[in-house]
Protein backbone atom coordinates (compact mmCIF):
# COMPACT_ATOMS: atom_id res chain seq x y z
CA UNK A 1 0.00 0.00 0.00
CA UNK A 2 1.29 3.44 -0.93
CA UNK A 3 1.74 5.95 1.91
CA UNK A 4 -1.03 8.54 2.17
CA UNK A 5 1.62 11.21 1.64
CA UNK A 6 5.17 10.56 0.49
CA UNK A 7 7.55 13.51 0.52
CA UNK A 8 10.91 12.89 -1.12
CA UNK A 9 13.95 15.17 -0.88
CA UNK A 10 11.82 18.27 -0.81
CA UNK A 11 13.61 21.61 -0.96
CA UNK A 12 12.36 25.17 -1.15
CA UNK A 13 14.30 28.39 -1.59
CA UNK A 14 12.33 31.59 -1.90
CA UNK A 15 13.23 34.36 -4.34
CA UNK A 16 14.59 36.35 -1.38
CA UNK A 17 17.23 33.63 -0.95
CA UNK A 18 15.63 32.29 2.21
CA UNK A 19 15.92 28.51 2.34
CA UNK A 20 12.67 27.30 3.88
CA UNK A 21 13.10 23.54 3.40
CA UNK A 22 16.22 21.44 3.08
CA UNK A 23 15.93 17.99 1.59
CA UNK A 24 12.92 16.88 3.62
CA UNK A 25 11.73 13.30 3.22
CA UNK A 26 8.75 11.91 5.08
CA UNK A 27 6.12 9.21 4.65
CA UNK A 28 2.74 9.54 6.30
CA UNK A 29 0.68 6.39 6.56
CA UNK A 30 -3.03 6.02 5.93
CA UNK A 31 -5.25 6.67 8.92
CA UNK A 32 -2.63 8.17 11.21
CA UNK A 33 -2.57 11.52 12.93
CA UNK A 34 0.81 13.08 12.32
CA UNK A 35 1.81 16.19 14.24
CA UNK A 36 4.46 18.46 12.82
CA UNK A 37 6.08 20.57 15.49
CA UNK A 38 8.53 23.36 15.12
CA UNK A 39 9.21 26.93 16.12
CA UNK A 40 7.96 29.87 14.05
CA UNK A 41 9.59 30.05 10.65
CA UNK A 42 10.77 26.43 10.78
CA UNK A 43 9.13 25.58 7.43
CA UNK A 44 5.92 23.86 8.56
CA UNK A 45 3.58 26.04 6.53
CA UNK A 46 5.87 25.94 3.48
CA UNK A 47 5.86 22.14 3.63
CA UNK A 48 2.07 22.04 3.79
CA UNK A 49 1.86 24.71 1.08
CA UNK A 50 3.90 22.60 -1.33
CA UNK A 51 1.88 19.44 -0.71
CA UNK A 52 -1.39 21.33 -1.21
CA UNK A 53 -0.31 23.23 -4.32
CA UNK A 54 0.06 26.72 -2.83
CA UNK A 55 3.84 26.90 -3.09
CA UNK A 56 6.15 25.71 -5.88
CA UNK A 57 8.86 23.36 -4.65
CA UNK A 58 12.45 24.08 -5.71
CA UNK A 59 13.39 20.40 -5.69
CA UNK A 60 12.06 17.00 -4.74
CA UNK A 61 8.68 15.39 -5.21
CA UNK A 62 5.48 14.69 -3.32
CA UNK A 63 3.00 11.87 -3.85
CA UNK A 64 -0.52 11.56 -2.47
CA UNK A 65 -1.49 7.90 -2.35
CA UNK A 66 1.08 7.28 -5.10
CA UNK A 67 -0.09 10.16 -7.31
CA UNK A 68 2.46 12.84 -8.16
CA UNK A 69 1.04 16.17 -6.94
CA UNK A 70 2.30 17.92 -10.08
CA UNK A 71 1.82 15.45 -12.92
CA UNK A 72 -1.32 13.88 -11.52
CA UNK A 73 -2.61 16.90 -9.64
CA UNK A 74 -6.30 16.29 -10.26
CA UNK A 75 -6.34 12.92 -8.51
CA UNK A 76 -3.85 13.97 -5.84
CA UNK A 77 -5.55 17.22 -4.89
CA UNK A 78 -9.05 15.78 -4.89
CA UNK A 79 -7.98 13.65 -1.90
CA UNK A 80 -6.49 16.49 0.10
CA UNK A 81 -8.31 18.96 2.30
CA UNK A 82 -6.57 21.99 3.76
CA UNK A 83 -7.35 24.21 6.72
CA UNK A 84 -4.79 27.00 6.47
CA UNK A 85 -3.34 28.85 9.39
CA UNK A 86 -4.70 32.28 8.48
CA UNK A 87 -8.44 32.74 8.62
CA UNK A 88 -9.41 33.64 5.05
CA UNK A 89 -13.10 33.71 4.30
CA UNK A 90 -15.53 35.33 1.91
CA UNK A 91 -16.87 37.81 4.43
CA UNK A 92 -20.08 38.63 2.56
CA UNK A 93 -21.07 35.05 1.76
CA UNK A 94 -23.08 32.73 3.95
CA UNK A 95 -21.63 29.69 5.67
CA UNK A 96 -23.79 27.47 3.48
CA UNK A 97 -22.77 29.06 0.18
CA UNK A 98 -19.08 29.06 0.94
CA UNK A 99 -19.21 25.38 1.95
CA UNK A 100 -21.04 24.51 -1.28
CA UNK A 101 -18.39 26.40 -3.27
CA UNK A 102 -15.63 24.35 -1.63
CA UNK A 103 -17.38 21.10 -2.44
CA UNK A 104 -17.84 22.07 -6.08
CA UNK A 105 -14.26 23.28 -6.46
CA UNK A 106 -13.01 19.85 -5.49
CA UNK A 107 -15.10 18.20 -8.17
CA UNK A 108 -17.87 16.82 -6.00
CA UNK A 109 -21.52 16.93 -7.05
CA UNK A 110 -23.75 19.05 -4.77
CA UNK A 111 -24.78 17.11 -1.68
CA UNK A 112 -26.81 19.19 0.80
CA UNK A 113 -27.08 16.24 3.20
CA UNK A 114 -23.29 16.01 3.53
CA UNK A 115 -22.89 19.76 4.02
CA UNK A 116 -25.58 19.62 6.69
CA UNK A 117 -23.76 16.78 8.44
CA UNK A 118 -20.49 18.72 8.45
CA UNK A 119 -22.09 21.94 9.67
CA UNK A 120 -23.93 20.11 12.45
CA UNK A 121 -20.75 18.31 13.55
CA UNK A 122 -19.00 21.67 13.84
CA UNK A 123 -21.97 23.34 15.60
CA UNK A 124 -22.42 25.66 12.64
CA UNK A 125 -25.87 24.53 11.57
CA UNK A 126 -27.61 27.44 13.34
CA UNK A 127 -25.31 29.82 11.49
CA UNK A 128 -25.67 28.33 8.04
CA UNK A 129 -27.46 31.39 6.64
CA UNK A 130 -25.30 33.93 8.47
CA UNK A 131 -22.82 36.06 6.60
CA UNK A 132 -19.34 34.96 7.61
CA UNK A 133 -18.31 38.48 8.64
CA UNK A 134 -20.90 38.41 11.41
CA UNK A 135 -19.32 35.34 13.05
CA UNK A 136 -16.81 35.32 15.90
CA UNK A 137 -13.18 34.35 15.32
CA UNK A 138 -13.74 30.85 16.68
CA UNK A 139 -16.76 30.36 14.45
CA UNK A 140 -14.78 31.51 11.42
CA UNK A 141 -12.16 28.90 12.29
CA UNK A 142 -14.92 26.30 12.27
CA UNK A 143 -16.07 27.57 8.88
CA UNK A 144 -12.55 26.99 7.54
CA UNK A 145 -12.73 23.41 8.78
CA UNK A 146 -16.24 22.97 7.36
CA UNK A 147 -15.02 24.10 3.94
CA UNK A 148 -12.22 21.57 4.00
CA UNK A 149 -14.53 18.76 5.11
CA UNK A 150 -17.28 19.65 2.66
CA UNK A 151 -15.46 17.83 -0.14
CA UNK A 152 -14.84 14.65 1.85
CA UNK A 153 -11.03 14.56 1.77
CA UNK A 154 -9.22 11.38 2.76
CA UNK A 155 -6.12 13.33 3.74
CA UNK A 156 -6.55 16.46 5.83
CA UNK A 157 -3.95 19.13 6.58
CA UNK A 158 -4.66 21.26 9.60
CA UNK A 159 -2.23 24.14 9.88
CA UNK A 160 -2.53 25.36 13.46
CA UNK A 161 -6.24 24.57 13.56
CA UNK A 162 -6.81 25.72 17.11
CA UNK A 163 -4.69 28.88 17.13
CA UNK A 164 -6.61 31.60 18.93
CA UNK A 165 -9.63 29.53 19.90
CA UNK A 166 -10.86 29.03 23.44
CA UNK A 167 -10.29 25.85 25.42
CA UNK A 168 -13.80 24.50 24.95
CA UNK A 169 -13.73 24.97 21.21
CA UNK A 170 -10.28 23.41 21.07
CA UNK A 171 -11.57 20.30 22.79
CA UNK A 172 -14.56 20.22 20.40
CA UNK A 173 -12.17 20.34 17.49
CA UNK A 174 -10.06 17.55 18.89
CA UNK A 175 -13.20 15.47 19.01
CA UNK A 176 -13.92 16.30 15.38
CA UNK A 177 -10.38 15.26 14.46
CA UNK A 178 -10.74 11.99 16.36
CA UNK A 179 -14.05 11.28 14.64
CA UNK A 180 -12.45 11.95 11.27
CA UNK A 181 -9.63 9.58 12.03
CA UNK A 182 -12.16 6.98 13.11
CA UNK A 183 -13.70 7.45 9.67
CA UNK A 184 -10.35 6.64 8.05
CA UNK A 185 -9.09 10.16 7.31
CA UNK A 186 -5.34 10.70 7.50
CA UNK A 187 -4.57 13.88 9.43
CA UNK A 188 -1.45 16.00 9.39
CA UNK A 189 -1.49 18.87 11.82
CA UNK A 190 0.93 21.56 12.79
CA UNK A 191 0.54 23.12 16.12
CA UNK A 192 2.14 25.38 18.67
CA UNK A 193 0.23 23.66 21.42
CA UNK A 194 2.33 20.69 22.36
CA UNK A 195 -0.55 19.55 24.51
CA UNK A 196 -2.47 19.12 21.26
CA UNK A 197 0.15 16.85 19.72
CA UNK A 198 0.50 14.95 22.98
CA UNK A 199 -3.24 14.49 23.16
CA UNK A 200 -3.88 13.42 19.61
CA UNK A 201 -0.89 12.45 17.50
CA UNK A 202 0.25 8.95 16.67
CA UNK A 203 3.55 10.17 15.33
CA UNK A 204 5.46 13.36 15.73
CA UNK A 205 7.86 15.13 13.43
CA UNK A 206 10.02 17.99 14.58
CA UNK A 207 11.15 20.52 12.01
CA UNK A 208 13.76 23.15 12.63
CA UNK A 209 15.23 25.64 10.16
CA UNK A 210 13.81 23.69 7.23
CA UNK A 211 15.19 20.35 8.35
CA UNK A 212 13.20 17.45 9.69
CA UNK A 213 15.28 16.61 12.73
CA UNK A 214 13.13 13.84 14.13
CA UNK A 215 10.21 11.59 13.24
CA UNK A 216 9.06 9.19 15.90
CA UNK A 217 6.02 7.41 17.29
CA UNK A 218 4.71 9.65 20.03
CA UNK A 219 4.74 6.92 22.65
CA UNK A 220 8.26 5.82 21.66
CA UNK A 221 9.43 9.42 21.73
CA UNK A 222 7.96 9.92 25.17
CA UNK A 223 9.60 6.69 26.32
CA UNK A 224 12.93 7.35 24.69
CA UNK A 225 13.38 10.94 25.63
CA UNK A 226 11.11 11.09 28.60
CA UNK A 227 13.07 11.59 31.81
CA UNK A 228 11.53 11.05 35.16
CA UNK A 229 12.45 12.90 38.26
CA UNK A 230 12.00 12.08 41.90
CA UNK A 231 11.53 14.98 44.24
CA UNK A 232 12.19 14.46 47.96
CA UNK A 233 11.01 17.11 50.43
CA UNK A 234 13.38 16.96 53.34
CA UNK A 235 12.51 17.26 57.01
CA UNK A 236 15.60 19.38 57.64
CA UNK A 237 17.30 21.54 55.01
CA UNK A 238 20.76 20.62 53.74
CA UNK A 239 23.54 23.02 52.88
CA UNK A 240 24.94 20.87 50.10
CA UNK A 241 24.50 17.42 48.60
CA UNK A 242 26.43 15.13 51.00
CA UNK A 243 29.67 13.62 49.68
CA UNK A 244 28.32 10.11 50.29
CA UNK A 245 25.60 10.76 47.69
CA UNK A 246 27.86 12.21 45.01
CA UNK A 247 27.57 9.14 42.76
CA UNK A 248 23.86 9.95 42.26
CA UNK A 249 22.70 12.69 39.87
CA UNK A 250 21.20 14.78 42.62
CA UNK A 251 20.47 18.46 42.75
CA UNK A 252 19.53 20.47 45.77
CA UNK A 253 16.93 23.22 45.61
CA UNK A 254 18.10 26.73 46.44
CA UNK A 255 16.47 26.67 49.89
CA UNK A 256 18.01 23.26 50.64
CA UNK A 257 14.61 21.71 51.33
CA UNK A 258 14.32 19.50 48.23
CA UNK A 259 16.55 16.89 46.72
CA UNK A 260 15.85 16.14 43.09
CA UNK A 261 16.94 12.90 41.49
CA UNK A 262 16.69 12.49 37.68
CA UNK A 263 16.59 9.01 36.26
CA UNK A 264 15.87 7.16 33.06
CA UNK A 265 12.41 5.66 33.33
CA UNK A 266 13.30 2.97 30.78
CA UNK A 267 16.41 1.68 32.52
CA UNK A 268 16.23 -1.73 34.23
CA UNK A 269 17.62 -0.24 37.38
CA UNK A 270 16.34 3.23 38.27
CA UNK A 271 18.51 3.44 41.37
CA UNK A 272 15.67 4.70 43.54
CA UNK A 273 15.73 1.87 46.05
CA UNK A 274 19.49 2.16 46.56
CA UNK A 275 19.23 5.96 46.87
CA UNK A 276 16.56 5.70 49.53
CA UNK A 277 18.64 3.16 51.47
CA UNK A 278 21.68 5.43 51.23
CA UNK A 279 19.63 8.38 52.50
CA UNK A 280 18.54 6.27 55.48
CA UNK A 281 22.16 5.35 56.21
CA UNK A 282 23.09 9.04 56.12
CA UNK A 283 20.26 9.91 58.48
CA UNK A 284 18.56 12.19 55.95
CA UNK A 285 14.80 12.02 56.52
CA UNK A 286 12.19 13.20 54.09
CA UNK A 287 8.53 13.96 54.63
CA UNK A 288 7.22 13.59 51.08
CA UNK A 289 8.28 12.23 47.73
CA UNK A 290 6.80 12.62 44.26
CA UNK A 291 7.83 11.67 40.73
CA UNK A 292 7.15 13.49 37.43
CA UNK A 293 7.61 12.49 33.80
CA UNK A 294 8.73 15.07 31.25
CA UNK A 295 6.00 16.23 28.95
CA UNK A 296 6.27 16.39 25.20
CA UNK A 297 6.82 20.10 25.66
CA UNK A 298 9.97 19.48 27.74
CA UNK A 299 11.16 17.02 25.12
CA UNK A 300 10.48 19.47 22.32
CA UNK A 301 12.22 22.35 24.06
CA UNK A 302 15.26 20.21 24.86
CA UNK A 303 15.42 18.91 21.27
CA UNK A 304 15.31 22.36 19.76
CA UNK A 305 17.80 23.56 22.34
CA UNK A 306 20.25 20.73 21.67
CA UNK A 307 20.02 21.24 17.93
CA UNK A 308 20.69 24.94 18.36
CA UNK A 309 23.80 24.17 20.36
CA UNK A 310 24.99 21.70 17.73
CA UNK A 311 24.43 24.22 14.98
CA UNK A 312 26.33 26.81 16.95
CA UNK A 313 29.35 24.50 17.17
Amino acid sequence: MQPAISIQNLGKSYATGHVALKNVSLDIQHGEIFALLGPNGAGKTTLIGIVCGLVNATSGSVYADGHDIRKDFRVARSMIGLVPQEIATDSFETVWDTSCLSRGLFGKAPNPAHIEKVLRALSLWDKKDSMIRTLSGGMKRRVMIAKALSHEPTILFLDEPTAGVDVELRRDMWQVVRDLRAGGVTIILTTHYIEEAEEMADRIGVIRKGELILVEEKSALMRKLGQKQLCLRLKAPLEAVPEALSDYALTLSADGNQLIYRFDAQADETGIAALLRRLGEQGIDFKELQSDQSSLEDIFVSLIHEESKEHAR
Binding site: C52, G53, V55, R74, V75, R77, L82, E93, G104, G107
Partner: protein
Amino acid sequence: MNFHAIRAIYRFEMHRTFRTLTQSIASPVLSTSLYFIVFGAAIGSRMGAIDGISYGAFIIPGLIMLSLLNESISNASFAIYLPKWTGTIYEVLSAPVSFVEVMVGYVGAAATKSVILGVLILCTARIFVDYSIEHPVWMLFFLVLTAVTFSLFGFIIGIWADNFEKLQVIPLMIVTPLTFLGGSFYSISMLPPIWQKITLFNPVVYLISGFRWSFYGVADVNVVVCIGVIVAFLVVCVATVWWIFRTGYRLKP
Protein backbone atom coordinates in the same frame (compact mmCIF):
# COMPACT_ATOMS: atom_id res chain seq x y z
CA MET B 1 -12.27 18.50 -16.80
CA ASN B 2 -13.76 19.41 -13.43
CA PHE B 3 -17.22 20.67 -14.46
CA HIS B 4 -18.43 20.87 -10.88
CA ALA B 5 -15.67 23.40 -10.20
CA ILE B 6 -16.62 25.55 -13.18
CA ARG B 7 -20.24 25.49 -12.06
CA ALA B 8 -19.31 26.28 -8.47
CA ILE B 9 -17.11 29.27 -9.38
CA TYR B 10 -19.63 30.56 -11.93
CA ARG B 11 -22.57 30.34 -9.52
CA PHE B 12 -20.59 31.89 -6.70
CA GLU B 13 -19.52 34.81 -8.88
CA MET B 14 -22.99 35.37 -10.34
CA HIS B 15 -24.36 35.34 -6.82
CA ARG B 16 -21.88 38.08 -5.91
CA THR B 17 -23.08 40.07 -8.95
CA PHE B 18 -26.71 39.89 -7.94
CA ARG B 19 -25.84 40.76 -4.35
CA THR B 20 -24.22 43.97 -5.58
CA LEU B 21 -26.79 44.69 -8.27
CA THR B 22 -26.74 48.48 -7.92
CA GLN B 23 -23.00 48.70 -8.30
CA SER B 24 -22.75 45.97 -10.96
CA ILE B 25 -25.61 46.81 -13.29
CA ALA B 26 -27.57 49.90 -12.30
CA SER B 27 -24.71 52.39 -12.10
CA PRO B 28 -23.18 51.66 -15.55
CA VAL B 29 -26.66 51.74 -17.11
CA LEU B 30 -27.30 55.11 -15.48
CA SER B 31 -23.98 56.63 -16.55
CA THR B 32 -24.45 55.43 -20.14
CA SER B 33 -27.97 56.85 -20.16
CA LEU B 34 -26.45 60.22 -19.28
CA TYR B 35 -24.21 59.95 -22.36
CA PHE B 36 -27.29 59.26 -24.49
CA ILE B 37 -29.12 62.25 -23.04
CA VAL B 38 -26.19 64.65 -23.49
CA PHE B 39 -24.58 63.44 -26.73
CA GLY B 40 -27.50 61.64 -28.31
CA ALA B 41 -30.62 63.65 -27.54
CA ALA B 42 -29.28 67.13 -26.60
CA ILE B 43 -26.07 67.76 -28.63
CA GLY B 44 -26.77 65.04 -31.20
CA SER B 45 -29.90 66.80 -32.46
CA ARG B 46 -27.69 69.69 -33.65
CA MET B 47 -25.03 67.46 -35.29
CA GLY B 48 -25.14 66.25 -38.88
CA ALA B 49 -25.54 62.59 -39.79
CA ILE B 50 -22.40 60.41 -40.19
CA ASP B 51 -22.46 57.90 -43.07
CA GLY B 52 -26.18 58.60 -43.30
CA ILE B 53 -26.79 57.69 -39.65
CA SER B 54 -28.08 60.23 -37.12
CA TYR B 55 -25.41 61.15 -34.56
CA GLY B 56 -27.48 59.78 -31.66
CA ALA B 57 -27.75 56.38 -33.34
CA PHE B 58 -24.12 56.49 -34.53
CA ILE B 59 -22.69 56.65 -31.02
CA ILE B 60 -24.75 53.74 -29.64
CA PRO B 61 -22.29 50.95 -30.61
CA GLY B 62 -19.35 53.01 -29.32
CA LEU B 63 -21.05 53.77 -26.01
CA ILE B 64 -22.00 50.13 -25.49
CA MET B 65 -18.39 49.14 -26.22
CA LEU B 66 -17.15 51.77 -23.78
CA SER B 67 -19.23 50.25 -20.99
CA LEU B 68 -18.60 46.69 -22.10
CA LEU B 69 -14.81 47.10 -22.04
CA ASN B 70 -14.73 48.89 -18.70
CA GLU B 71 -17.17 46.55 -17.01
CA SER B 72 -15.61 43.36 -18.42
CA ILE B 73 -12.19 44.42 -17.21
CA SER B 74 -13.33 45.63 -13.81
CA ASN B 75 -15.64 42.64 -13.17
CA ALA B 76 -13.03 40.03 -13.97
CA SER B 77 -10.09 41.83 -12.41
CA PHE B 78 -11.97 42.38 -9.16
CA ALA B 79 -13.32 38.82 -9.15
CA ILE B 80 -9.82 37.32 -9.02
CA TYR B 81 -8.16 40.15 -7.10
CA LEU B 82 -10.65 39.85 -4.22
CA PRO B 83 -9.77 36.25 -3.28
CA LYS B 84 -6.08 37.13 -3.63
CA TRP B 85 -6.56 40.05 -1.29
CA THR B 86 -8.66 38.19 1.29
CA GLY B 87 -6.54 35.05 1.05
CA THR B 88 -9.37 32.78 -0.07
CA ILE B 89 -7.43 32.09 -3.27
CA TYR B 90 -5.76 29.25 -1.32
CA GLU B 91 -8.80 27.14 -1.99
CA VAL B 92 -8.73 27.61 -5.76
CA LEU B 93 -4.98 26.90 -5.83
CA SER B 94 -5.34 23.74 -3.78
CA ALA B 95 -8.36 22.45 -5.73
CA PRO B 96 -8.10 19.82 -8.47
CA VAL B 97 -8.52 22.37 -11.23
CA SER B 98 -6.34 23.57 -14.09
CA PHE B 99 -6.24 27.09 -15.51
CA VAL B 100 -9.15 26.10 -17.78
CA GLU B 101 -11.70 25.62 -15.01
CA VAL B 102 -10.61 28.72 -13.10
CA MET B 103 -10.58 30.83 -16.26
CA VAL B 104 -13.93 29.57 -17.56
CA GLY B 105 -15.58 30.02 -14.15
CA TYR B 106 -14.36 33.53 -13.39
CA VAL B 107 -14.21 34.90 -16.95
CA GLY B 108 -17.53 33.26 -17.85
CA ALA B 109 -19.27 34.96 -14.93
CA ALA B 110 -17.65 38.34 -15.64
CA ALA B 111 -18.52 38.12 -19.35
CA THR B 112 -22.11 37.08 -18.59
CA LYS B 113 -22.50 40.14 -16.41
CA SER B 114 -21.07 42.37 -19.16
CA VAL B 115 -23.36 40.91 -21.82
CA ILE B 116 -26.42 41.44 -19.58
CA LEU B 117 -25.22 45.00 -19.07
CA GLY B 118 -24.69 45.53 -22.82
CA VAL B 119 -28.20 44.33 -23.60
CA LEU B 120 -29.64 46.53 -20.85
CA ILE B 121 -27.82 49.59 -22.23
CA LEU B 122 -29.09 48.74 -25.70
CA CYS B 123 -32.66 48.61 -24.39
CA THR B 124 -32.16 51.85 -22.43
CA ALA B 125 -30.84 53.59 -25.57
CA ARG B 126 -34.15 52.90 -27.23
CA ILE B 127 -35.80 55.32 -24.84
CA PHE B 128 -33.63 58.19 -26.09
CA VAL B 129 -32.63 57.35 -29.65
CA ASP B 130 -34.14 55.51 -32.60
CA TYR B 131 -31.83 52.87 -34.09
CA SER B 132 -31.90 49.67 -36.14
CA ILE B 133 -29.76 46.52 -36.02
CA GLU B 134 -28.92 45.23 -39.47
CA HIS B 135 -27.10 42.03 -38.40
CA PRO B 136 -28.50 41.03 -34.97
CA VAL B 137 -26.66 37.70 -34.84
CA TRP B 138 -23.33 39.36 -35.62
CA MET B 139 -24.16 42.08 -33.12
CA LEU B 140 -24.58 39.43 -30.43
CA PHE B 141 -21.40 37.71 -31.64
CA PHE B 142 -19.37 40.92 -31.25
CA LEU B 143 -20.97 41.59 -27.88
CA VAL B 144 -20.09 38.15 -26.51
CA LEU B 145 -16.64 37.99 -28.13
CA THR B 146 -15.67 41.39 -26.76
CA ALA B 147 -17.06 40.63 -23.30
CA VAL B 148 -15.13 37.36 -23.12
CA THR B 149 -11.89 38.80 -24.50
CA PHE B 150 -11.81 41.81 -22.20
CA SER B 151 -12.93 39.79 -19.19
CA LEU B 152 -9.88 37.63 -19.88
CA PHE B 153 -7.75 40.76 -20.08
CA GLY B 154 -9.26 41.94 -16.77
CA PHE B 155 -8.58 38.53 -15.23
CA ILE B 156 -4.89 38.93 -16.10
CA ILE B 157 -4.85 42.46 -14.62
CA GLY B 158 -6.47 41.09 -11.44
CA ILE B 159 -3.73 38.50 -11.06
CA TRP B 160 -0.97 40.97 -11.90
CA ALA B 161 -2.21 43.68 -9.53
CA ASP B 162 -0.84 43.49 -6.02
CA ASN B 163 -2.65 46.57 -4.77
CA PHE B 164 -5.89 48.42 -5.48
CA GLU B 165 -4.10 51.19 -7.37
CA LYS B 166 -2.69 48.77 -9.94
CA LEU B 167 -6.14 47.27 -10.31
CA GLN B 168 -7.41 50.65 -11.51
CA VAL B 169 -4.43 51.99 -13.41
CA ILE B 170 -4.77 50.06 -16.69
CA PRO B 171 -8.53 50.53 -17.11
CA LEU B 172 -8.27 54.24 -16.26
CA MET B 173 -5.00 55.18 -17.92
CA ILE B 174 -5.05 52.96 -20.99
CA VAL B 175 -8.43 51.43 -21.78
CA THR B 176 -10.62 54.52 -21.30
CA PRO B 177 -8.39 56.80 -23.46
CA LEU B 178 -8.15 54.10 -26.14
CA THR B 179 -11.93 53.76 -26.16
CA PHE B 180 -12.53 57.51 -26.42
CA LEU B 181 -9.91 57.73 -29.20
CA GLY B 182 -11.16 54.53 -30.85
CA GLY B 183 -14.11 56.11 -32.62
CA SER B 184 -16.80 55.84 -29.96
CA PHE B 185 -18.03 59.33 -30.78
CA TYR B 186 -16.76 59.80 -34.35
CA SER B 187 -15.92 57.98 -37.55
CA ILE B 188 -12.16 57.70 -38.06
CA SER B 189 -12.68 59.01 -41.58
CA MET B 190 -13.32 62.39 -39.90
CA LEU B 191 -9.69 62.49 -38.68
CA PRO B 192 -6.78 64.06 -40.60
CA PRO B 193 -5.13 61.42 -42.89
CA ILE B 194 -2.07 60.90 -40.66
CA TRP B 195 -4.26 60.24 -37.59
CA GLN B 196 -6.37 57.83 -39.62
CA LYS B 197 -3.20 55.73 -40.00
CA ILE B 198 -2.04 56.12 -36.39
CA THR B 199 -5.45 55.25 -34.99
CA LEU B 200 -5.25 51.82 -36.65
CA PHE B 201 -2.75 50.87 -33.92
CA ASN B 202 -5.54 51.29 -31.41
CA PRO B 203 -7.15 47.85 -30.99
CA VAL B 204 -10.41 49.40 -29.76
CA VAL B 205 -10.97 50.87 -33.25
CA TYR B 206 -11.56 47.33 -34.52
CA LEU B 207 -14.02 46.48 -31.74
CA ILE B 208 -16.12 49.58 -32.30
CA SER B 209 -15.89 49.41 -36.07
CA GLY B 210 -17.00 45.77 -36.21
CA PHE B 211 -19.75 46.34 -33.69
CA ARG B 212 -21.02 49.42 -35.56
CA TRP B 213 -21.05 47.40 -38.79
CA SER B 214 -23.43 44.87 -37.14
CA PHE B 215 -25.83 47.77 -36.44
CA TYR B 216 -25.70 49.85 -39.59
CA GLY B 217 -23.72 47.86 -42.18
CA VAL B 218 -20.99 50.56 -42.34
CA ALA B 219 -17.51 50.22 -40.89
CA ASP B 220 -14.22 52.12 -40.75
CA VAL B 221 -12.27 48.86 -41.05
CA ASN B 222 -13.04 45.59 -42.86
CA VAL B 223 -15.18 43.38 -40.60
CA VAL B 224 -13.03 40.29 -41.16
CA VAL B 225 -9.99 42.26 -39.99
CA CYS B 226 -11.98 43.38 -36.93
CA ILE B 227 -12.85 39.80 -35.99
CA GLY B 228 -9.26 38.71 -36.68
CA VAL B 229 -7.83 41.37 -34.34
CA ILE B 230 -10.23 40.54 -31.49
CA VAL B 231 -9.63 36.78 -31.85
CA ALA B 232 -5.86 37.34 -31.92
CA PHE B 233 -6.09 39.36 -28.69
CA LEU B 234 -8.26 36.60 -27.18
CA VAL B 235 -5.63 33.97 -28.05
CA VAL B 236 -2.85 36.09 -26.51
CA CYS B 237 -4.91 36.48 -23.32
CA VAL B 238 -5.65 32.74 -23.06
CA ALA B 239 -1.95 31.95 -23.60
CA THR B 240 -1.03 34.46 -20.88
CA VAL B 241 -3.47 32.89 -18.40
CA TRP B 242 -2.07 29.44 -19.24
CA TRP B 243 1.46 30.71 -18.58
CA ILE B 244 0.38 32.36 -15.29
CA PHE B 245 -1.06 29.11 -13.94
CA ARG B 246 1.86 27.04 -15.22
CA THR B 247 4.46 29.20 -13.52
CA GLY B 248 2.37 30.40 -10.58
CA TYR B 249 3.21 34.02 -11.47
CA ARG B 250 1.80 36.31 -8.75
CA LEU B 251 -0.15 33.34 -7.40
CA LYS B 252 2.40 31.00 -5.83
CA PRO B 253 5.69 31.83 -4.15
